[in-house]
């Protein structure tokens, strides 16, 4: 059993809140739940919608067709009614979001007391909300039959995963300048300042953020900075300096479609190369790409681990789809212990002599460069302690999907019972050497949320194997992959 619900309305009508409390209740009922958010770059009006999928077996993406549409405005019906399945239900009208909450709960057969509990948790407007919800609940007569499920997942987003990963690694200070889709982490961490005894600061721009991050990290504090592609561009001057000064700083880079301002509130995997190669000069770094909230915890944790251990910049690479979608996850993350390994000394953006002062001495320059680049080998070996990649599906199949990051949810739901294996790379740098063997003599299919197959080029660089253009499934309109459509796309390319 798998059911999909789409809830849309104008920004400010509360579609977001409505879907979130429904998702929470479905998780409590024992279902696997996934939902994504589609919103525009505006504050009031426009058209926003959230789409949710729940099931009695694992689900981590949406499908192209839905079983129910909840239209808080006319645009929702107009834009999305074509997605409604034949026997699907559409709820519409001028009532409030909580009125619809009541109706949906009744349709899905969830007891009213669970909705009441959610409304109590919201605290604000409880008295108004409960009247509306009750009215909707009592008026509703339609039913969707569901089978029972006993999953015990925890509902959280990729942004919450990044946040938890940082907290569990012992984060002390976080700096950021607001930019979608990195901002939810800023908000999450800011909310937790008191309870976790951390400090969160918004500074005047990303350049200040990165440099203040350096100053704080130099004192031995575990420090992270966060931004999206455009802000990261501004930080790359500092990233390069960290490369020479050997300062342990963690970067959270949340991708959205570029270049320029691009499509500001949508998703992309277009910034892999700036994570891997930005910043002038040659220096070691670590770039890790989680595919779900649990991996977001783990990869953020590993970024702290590597940056503290080697005095290097470490980048955790996410995107809007992972950051702002919610997943019900059963697995508990594996968190490595991160020791504070730095204290204030003489750091320099120049090559340094033995006292930490600038030098132009040829021998010393060579010595310094080698010392820094030798870390690459150490990091490469150390990374083997962690799960650098994952293989799903039929491992011996001749067909093989290659993917990374937030496409994970759709890929895993899409491959289902196909005779295919799927390889997810988590460590972009250091790139796991095993991949080279795994991709030999396979019919490789690449899935990415960008226009040119950036990860495919990384695979070619690391393995020498070129993925055929016709085997590249690329989506670059900022939207998510639907697992049913992706299933067909994959099937068409299988041998």
């Amino acid at each position: 059993m798998k059911k999909s619900i789409l809830i849309g309305g104008k920004a400010g009508q509360g579609a977001n809140l409505l879907l979130h409390l429904l998702a929470e209740s479905l998780v409590e009922e024992g279902y696997y739940v996934f939902y994504s958010r589609d919103y525009q770059s505006l504050i009031r009006g426009g058209h926003n919608f959230n789409q949710l999928c729940f099931s009695d077996s694992s689900v981590s993406s949406n499908e192209s067709k839905v079983d129910m549409i909840v239209a808080l405005d006319e645009t929702t019906e107009k834009n999305h009614s074509s997605k409604l399945k034949k026997e699907g239900i559409i709820l519409k009208g001028k009532e409030s979001n909580m009125f619809f909450a009541g109706r949906i709960f009744n349709i899905l057969g969830i007891e009213f007391k669970f909705l009441d509990k959610r409304l109590k948790e919201l605290k604000s407007r409880y008295n108004e909300n409960i009247i509306e919800a009750k009215r909707g609940f009592e008026l509703e007569a339609q039913k969707i039959k569901l089978s029972k499920s006993r999953n015990k997942g925890k509902l959280y987003s990729g942004s919450e995963g990044i946040t938890l990963g940082a907290i569990k690694s012992g984060l002390d200070v976080y700096y950021a300048y607001p930019m979608t889709p990195a901002t939810p982490v800023l908000g999450e961490l800011a909310q937790r300042q008191k309870e976790d005894n951390i400090l969160v600061l918004e500074l005047e721009n990303e350049i200040a953020v990165a440099n203040a991050g350096c100053g704080t990290a130099m004192t031995g504090a575990k420090t992270m900075v966060g931004t999206a592609g455009g802000g990261f561009d501004l930080m790359t001057e500092t990233l390069s300096m960290i490369g020479i000064a050997e300062i342990p700083l963690v970067f959270y880079l949340a991708q959205r479609p570029g270049p320029g301002t691009g499509v500001a509130t949508y998703s992309s995997q277009g910034d892999l190369n700036i994570a891997l190669y930005s910043g002038h000069g040659e220096f070691p770094r670590v770039v890790l790409a989680p595919g779900d909230p649990c991996e977001a915890e783990e990869m953020t944790n590993q970024c702290f681990y590597f940056s503290q251990k080697y005095g290097i910049p470490a980048i955790v690479l996410s995107d809007k789809h992972l950051g702002e979608s919610y997943y019900s996850i059963e697995r508990k993350p594996r968190i490595a212990k991160v020791k504070k390994q730095h204290s204030l000394k003489r750091y320099n953006s120049y090559e340094v002599d033995s006292e930490g002062s600038a030098t132009e001495d040829s021998e010393r320059v060579i010595k310094n460069v080698n010392k820094r680049l030798d870390k690459k080998e150490d990091i490469f070996k150390e990374a083997k302690k962690f799960k650098q990649y994952k293989v799903y599906g039929r491992k011996n199949s001749n067909n093989c999907v290659l993917f990374w990051g937030s496409t994970k949810g759709a890929v895993l739901d899409a491959i289902g019972n196909l005779d295919i294996c799927a390889i997810q790379v988590l460590h972009m740098d250091p790139f796991p050497e095993e991949i080279e063997k795994l991709v030999q003599k396979k019919n490789l299919i690449l899935i990415e949320s960008n226009a040119t197959g950036i990860f495919g080029r990384l695979v070619r660089k690391k393995t020498g194997i070129e993925i055929k253009d016709k085997n590249k499934i690329l989506r670059y309109d900022g939207r998510e992959f639907f697992s049913d459509e992706l299933h067909e796309e994959i099937k068409r390319r299988m041998k």
Binding site: N197, L199, I207, A212, G215, T216, R346, S349, S357
Partner: protein, 281 residues
């Protein structure tokens, strides 16, 4: 082992450069602090890129010789990392008012307890003499053959408008540097100190020093913002005329809550003498 206050690095400023005076003044100040019981590790320094930046190489303090324009956010980060550090930032006029001007304005606004010294030679010297945003109109170099056409920024006025709580100007003279550092030490918050140090190669101004006078000797009260603004306008950074007077000393001083006092987590560190590094999680 007692750490030496100086590094072994050979000083490479031009012979006669005013930076020697700034270095001497800073080291004299530090030495007296050490005699009084301070330790070298109590201090941290940050410098930027330009002739001034080399000062980091000559003083054996922890810190960072950072990128061009980024002295102040680095200082801020150090202070937030460990509020018990006595943090000194050094940066040139191009560094501070061209590349890094946004940081300067916000530093005044944040009011973190940092001592900031602006090495003002009114020129990009280490890149061989291009105009900065503090260079006077009409200045000619290879890159500006028609002469500078814009007005220079008045950093004292800028700092007063941005809300800096300690705004001073001194001449690049070891005694004056030491004197102002001692004054600044008693002020909690962001301390902006401009040092007039005409570049002896690319921006000669032998008469500058003779044109200066001490504000406090002329009865200037540093608690009056309007009076400070008027005094700031006396010298507008244009080519000095015979009658030009350059006021030195403390233009304005006003105590308000520092950044470290605004965040309870940081305030706690100031009481305990600890920092994030000591926190076990």
């Amino acid at each position: 082992m007692k750490k030496n206050i100086s590094t072994k690095t050979k000083v490479t400023w031009c012979p006669g450069c005013w930076n020697f005076q700034i270095l001497a003044g800073f080291k004299n100040y530090l030495e007296k602090e050490l005699k009084k019981g301070a330790r070298l590790n109590d201090f941290a320094m940050v410098s930027g890129i330009g002739c001034h930046g080399k000062i980091f190489d000559y003083v054996n303090l922890n810190g960072l010789n950072t990128l061009h324009g980024r002295t102040l956010p680095t200082c801020l980060g150090l202070k937030i990392g460990n509020p018990n550090l006595k943090v000194f930032g050094f940066a040139g006029d191009g560094d501070t008012l061209s590349e890094g001007i946004s940081h300067l304005i916000h530093a005044a606004r944040y009011n973190s307890d940092i001592t900031f010294l602006l090495h003002n030679n009114q020129v990009f010297a280490l890149t061989v003499g291009q105009p900065t945003s503090l260079t006077e109109k009409g200045f000619i170099d290879k890159t500006t053959p028609q002469g500078v056409v814009h007005n220079p920024i008045n950093p004292i006025k800028l700092m007063l408008s941005a809300g800096a709580g300690f705004v001073a100007r001194v001449y690049a003279d070891a005694k004056q540097i030491e004197w102002i550092l001692r004054k600044a030490q008693n002020h909690k918050g962001f301390k902006f100190i401009e040092i007039m140090q005409p570049c002896i190669i690319f921006h000669k101004n032998e008469n500058f020093q003779r044109m200066t006078y001490m504000l406090q000797e002329k009865g200037h009260k540093s608690n009056n913002l309007n009076a400070a603004m008027k005094k700031a306008e006396e010298f507008n950074y244009e080519k000095p005329e015979k009658e030009t007077k350059i006021p030195l000393g403390i233009f304005y001083q006003s105590r308000s809550k520092t950044l470290e006092e605004k965040y309870p987590a940081l305030e706690k560190f100031m009481k305990s003498g600890k920092s994030w590094k000591d926190i076990k999680r």
